[in-house]
């Protein structure tokens, strides 16, 4: 889905993220990276936004029942939004700690579940916000100043 408004230079892309599908995991982040490259965004910002997009995508693939990854580009910033339909994070503060993970053993064997996803997103972004409610879902927003 694309909306473009030439006046405000607003562009929004939304990617559907499928739970548990490791075969196509990372596709949304790769597409976001390609899009940012086409727009001629600074390489360092592309790298940081790509890492954040990847981690947000993987979090939904690994932990959620499915969700969406959205990227919004305006004249001044890039906003990455990830929202899923649950199950929600029980203790967000704990989830933000490096090394804490609730990933299953089989997921960890694939090299996921290092407990660095959310810390990586926070570190890479200029502004970071997360809210989660059990039974409802999680909303995450990361901003990158252009």
């Amino acid at each position: 889905m694309t909306q473009e408004n030439s006046g405000d230079l607003v562009m929004t892309h939304v990617y559907k993220i499928e739970a548990g599908n490791f075969t196509i995991a990372g596709e949304a982040a790769s597409n976001i990276k390609k899009l940012l490259r086409q727009l001629g965004i600074d390489a360092n910002i592309i790298r940081r936004a790509s890492i954040a997009a990847y981690e947000a995508e993987m979090n939904m693939v690994i932990h959620s029942v499915g969700g969406h990854l959205e990227i919004e580009i305006t004249g001044g910033e890039i906003v990455l939004k990830a929202y899923d339909n649950g199950p929600g994070i029980e203790d967000v503060e704990l989830a933000m700690e490096e090394g804490y993970s609730t990933a299953t053993d089989s997921t960890r064997e694939l090299g996921f579940g290092a407990g660095m996803g959310l810390p990586n997103i926070k570190r890479c972004s200029d502004q970071f916000h997360i809210q989660s409610e059990m039974g409802q879902g999680t909303y995450l927003e990361a901003k990158f100043v252009l």
């Binding site: 490791f22 075969t23 995991a25 990372g26 596709e27 982040a29 790769s30 990276k33 790298r47 790509s50 890492i51 990847y54 981690e55 993987m58 694939l110 090299g111 996921f112 290092a114 407990g115 660095m116 996803g117 810390p119 990586n120 570190r123």
Partner: protein
């Protein structure tokens, strides 16, 4: 240094990306935890990992890693090879172990200068 330069000195097989062996390599990183690689994997670097599933290609693409080296002749998923070809990622297999390989690459100068 280019990928070709160090390949001449180690036993290896190029699994994908034969046409990109003149890519520059500035640094190296060794880890099998993907989020650690996302946090510390260097641009234009060599990444050594025992993970062989398709998601390593996504990581390499996003970080612009020059090449992935799989040690100990670990079999690589066909879907990973296919994706590496599509994404133009250099994928190399070697009989060496990760520790030996890291030492050899470091001795050759990869990652010595920051």
């Amino acid at each position: 240094m280019k990928i070709n330069d160090f390949l001449q000195k180690i036993p290896h097989e190029v699994i994908a990306g034969q046409e990109f062996l003149d890519r520059k390599v500035k640094a190296g990183y060794c880890s099998d935890l993907l989020s650690r690689v996302m946090a510390h994997g260097p641009n234009n670097g060599v990444w050594i990992t025992v993970q062989t599933h398709i998601n390593i290609i996504a990581v390499a693409t996003l970080l612009e890693i020059s090449c992935i080296i799989i040690p100990e002749n670990i079999p690589i998923d066909p879907s990973t090879v296919q994706k590496a070809i599509e994404e133009e990622i250099v994928l190399i297999s070697t009989p060496l172990q990760a520790f030996e390989l890291s030492g050899m690459l470091y001795e050759m100068g990869i990652g010595k200068q920051k």
